[in-house]
C-alpha cells in the first residue's frame, strides 16, 4: 500500500465516521451549550462544572430512580424521548472569549440554549449574545444582581443573586446580635471584576441600613502575586466580621497572608466563590475553622431529602468530590432547562424561553434548599432561599436559616 492509498483510506474512514455520527444524531438529540472556564486560573471550577452538568444529563437521558423531574424516564418525553447533548466551551474567564464562544455554539453547533458561566463578567456578555439570537441563557452560578436588571427576555437565573445572599448574611448577624454578641464593624474585601464590586456594593448598602460600621473597604486586583498590603489594611481595621468576595487564587493567598501577618479575623462570612471550593480547604482549611459562607446548597439536607444524597453519589463517582455551592447550581440549571425544553416540546429558542417563564417547580423536586423555582418577569427566581454554612472539622454544616440548620452557629469562629 503506497502513501496515496493510505491517504485515500484515511479520508474514506473519516467520512464514514462523520456520516455515522450524523445518522446517530438524527432528530433525537437536543443540543445545549455550556460555557465555563475550562482552562486558566479557574479551570478546576470548569472541570467540576462539566462533571455536574454531565451528571444532570445522565439523569435526564437515562432511567434513574430519583425523585427529580425527568429522572424516571429516558430522554425528553415531550420530544419523543430525545436525548440532551451538552456541548462545552471554554471562556478562560474572559468576557470577550465568552461572547465569541457563545456565537460559535449558536451559529455552528446550533445549540438551542446555553448554560454558564461562573464568572458574572462572562455571563454578562454571553447572555447578551443569546438575547440577540433569541436563545435562552440560564445563568447557573453567576450571582451578580445587575445581571437580571438589564431587561433581557432570554435571561433566566434559578439560583439566588448576591443581594439575596448578602441579605441572609446580615439577617444572620442581626440574629446573633440579638443573642448578645458584639457585632459592630465589618470589613469588605473584594476583587475588582463585576462579581466583587457588585457584591461589595450590596454589602456596603446593607451595612449602612442595618447599622454596621464599615471598618475597611478593600478592593484588590484579582490574581495578584501578593496581598500583603491589603491584609495589612484589614488587620489595622480589625473588624468584627471580615466579608471576602474572592475567587480561588485570591482566597488561598488571602488566608495564607493573614496567617503570615499574624492576623486572625474574629469572624469570616464569605460570599462563597473561592470559599466554597474543595481546593481552598485542602490547602488552607486548618486556618478557616469556623468560617461561614453563603451557599445555595446544603449537603446535610440529604438526611431529609434522599435525592440530594443520590445525586451526590452520582456526581462523586465522576469527580471524586462532593457537590458544593457551585456544582449543585450547575446541576440544577440543566435540570430546570431540560424540564422547560420537555414542556416546550420544541428545540426553538422562543418556545423554550416561554416554557422557562412558565416554570413552577416545587423546591422538594430539586436538590436545593429552595422553596420553589418560578421566574419573575426579569428572569430571576425569587424563591431561591440562600443558606449559610459553617466549616467545622472537614465539613460544612448548615447553620442558617434556623429552620434548615443542622447545628447552631459557632460564634465567634475562633472561640
Amino acid at each position: 500500500m503506497d502513501r496515496r492509498q493510505v491517504l485515500k483510506l484515511g479520508i474514506a474512514s473519516l467520512a464514514a465516521t462523520a456520516a455515522g455520527r450524523a445518522l446517530a444524531q438524527g432528530a433525537t438529540e437536543v443540543k445545549v451549550g455550556a460555557i465555563f472556564p475550562l482552562s486558566g486560573s479557574n479551570a478546576q471550577i470548569g472541570v467540576d462544572a462539566k462533571h455536574a452538568i454531565e451528571t444532570a444529563a445522565d439523569i435526564i437521558n437515562n432511567v434513574h430512580n430519583i425523585d427529580l423531574p425527568l429522572a424516571k424516564t429516558a430522554g425528553l418525553q415531550g420530544l419523543g424521548g430525545a436525548k440532551i447533548r451538552v456541548i462545552f466551551a471554554d471562556h478562560q474567564a474572559d468576557p470577550q472569549k465568552g461572547r465569541a464562544e457563545a456565537e460559535r455554539l449558536i451559529t455552528q453547533d446550533q445549540v438551542c440554549s446555553i448554560i454558564g458561566a461562573y464568572h458574572s463578567s462572562v455571563s454578562a456578555t454571553v447572555s447578551q449574545t443569546c438575547e440577540r439570537y433569541e436563545i435562552p441563557y440560564v445563568a447557573a452560578d453567576s450571582s451578580s444582581p445587575s445581571l437580571h436588571r438589564r431587561g433581557l427576555k432570554y435571561f433566566f437565573r434559578p439560583a439566588a443573586h448576591d443581594e439575596m445572599f448578602s441579605a441572609a448574611m446580615f439577617d444572620f448577624m442581626d440574629e446573633e446580635k440579638k443573642k448578645g454578641q458584639k457585632i459592630e464593624t465589618v470589613a469588605l474585601f473584594y476583587e475588582d471584576t463585576i462579581f466583587g464590586t457588585d457584591s461589595s456594593n450590596v454589602q456596603r448598602t446593607l451595612a449602612g441600613q442595618r447599622g454596621y460600621k464599615v471598618a475597611a473597604d478593600v478592593k484588590y486586583k484579582n490574581n495578584s502575586p501578593s496581598l500583603t498590603s491589603e491584609v495589612q489594611i484589614l488587620k489595622n481595621a480589625d473588624a468584627d466580621v471580615l466579608m471576602p468576595s474572592s475567587y480561588t487564587t485570591d482566597a488561598i493567598l488571602l488566608v495564607k497572608t493573614m496567617a503570615e501577618l499574624g492576623y486572625k479575623p474574629r469572624n469570616i462570612i464569605a460570599q462563597a466563590a473561592g470559599f466554597s471550593e474543595k481546593t481552598v480547604f485542602d490547602t488552607v482549611g486548618d486556618k478557616l475553622q469556623g468560617m461561614i459562607s453563603r451557599a445555595s446548597f446544603s449537603l446535610d439536607l440529604a438526611a431529609k431529602r434522599p435525592s440530594i444524597g443520590q445525586v451526590n453519589e452520582l456526581y462523586k463517582a465522576r469527580s471524586n468530590r462532593d457537590l458544593n455551592d457551585n456544582t449543585s447550581r450547575e446541576f440544577t440549571a440543566l435540570l430546570v432547562l431540560a424540564d422547560a425544553i420537555n414542556r416546550a416540546k420544541s428545540a426553538e429558542g422562543p418556545k423554550i424561553a416561554a416554557a422557562l417563564a412558565a416554570t413552577d417547580l416545587p423546591g422538594d423536586k430539586t436538590i436545593m434548599p429552595w422553596s420553589r423555582v418560578k421566574f419573575g418577569p426579569d428572569g430571576q427566581n425569587p424563591y431561591a432561599d440562600p443558606v449559610l454554612i459553617q466549616y467545622i472539622g472537614t465539613k460544612f454544616v448548615t447553620i442558617f436559616p434556623t429552620a434548615l440548620a443542622a447545628a447552631p452557629a459557632k460564634w465567634p469562629m475562633n472561640a
Binding site: G46, V47, N223, T228, S229, E230, K256, E260, L261
Partner: protein
Amino acid sequence: MDLALDCFASLAMVQLRGDPRELRAMTSQALLQIFASGLLTGLIYALVAVGLSLIFGLMDIVNFAHGEFLMFAMYATFFLWLLTALDPVLLAPLVVATLFFWGALVYALIVRYAMRAKANIGMVQIFSTFGLGILMQGAAQYLFTPDYRSITSSWFGGKTLSVAGVFLPLPQVFGGAVSILTFAGLYLLMSRTDFGKALEATREDQGAVALVGIDKNRIFALGWGLGGALIGLAGAILAIFNYVHPQVGSTFALTAYVVVALGGFGSIFGALAAGIIVGLVEAAATLVIEPSMKSIGIYALYLAVVFIRPSGMFGRL
C-alpha cells in the same frame, strides 16, 4: 523616629486618601510593616526576574515561557516534597539542577533553531518561546490537573517572626536572604570566573569569541541552563508559601517583565534594584490609592524611567 513616622502616616492618610477613619488605624508600626513586606516581596520579585534578565543580556532573547519555567519549578518542588517528604529547602538543589537541564534543553531543542531563522528572526524567537509557554501550561493542566496544590508542612511554611510588632513571615525572610546571596554569588560568578568572563565576552561580540576558542553554542546553552537554574531556585522558594497551579507562572511573570524592563534588560544588578523598588512601590501604593490600582505606581515609575532612560535604570542597550 516614631513621631516622624506617625506624622508621615497622618499626612499620607489625610492628604492622599483623605479618609479620617483609617487615619486612626494607621500607625508607625503599620508603616514599618508595609516597608518590611515590600522589601521582602521585592527581593523575591528580583530573584524571579534575574533569570529572565540574564538570558536576555546574553543573547537578546526574551524568554516568554519564563512564567511557565517558574510554574514547572514549583510543581517539581511540590511533587518531590510529596514523594520524598523532605523539606523543600533540602530539595531546592535538586529543583535547581532539574531546571538547569530544562533550560539547556530548551536552548538546544528550540531556541538554537529559532535563532537560525532567515527572515523575521525577532518574531520567530518570540513565538517559539511563547508557544513553549502555552504548551507547558497545557501539559501541566493535563498531567497535574488544574487543582491548586500547596506544600502543607515545611521548616519555614506558615511560621512568622514578630519583631516589635512587625510580622516577618519566615519563608519570605528565607527567600529574601537566598535572593541576596544569589545576587552576590552571581556577581562573583560573572566577575571572577572564566565562565563569567566567557559569558560577558559572548554577549559583547558573538563573532569575535569564536576566534579565541569559545564555543558560542556551549556558552548559550550554559546561559540558558543558568537562567533556568535561577528560576528553579525562585520556584523552590515560592512553592513554600505560594499555591502551585498551572497558571501560577503568569501571576509572577508580568511583574518579572516589568522588573527586567525597569532595571534595564540584561542588567543583573538592575534586576535586584528594580525588584526591590517594585516591591516597595507596590506596598506603599496601597497607602495612597485603592489596592486594586496598586500596580499603577509601578507602571507610572516604569513610564518615567522609559522617558528619561529608555534602556532602563542600569541597561546598556
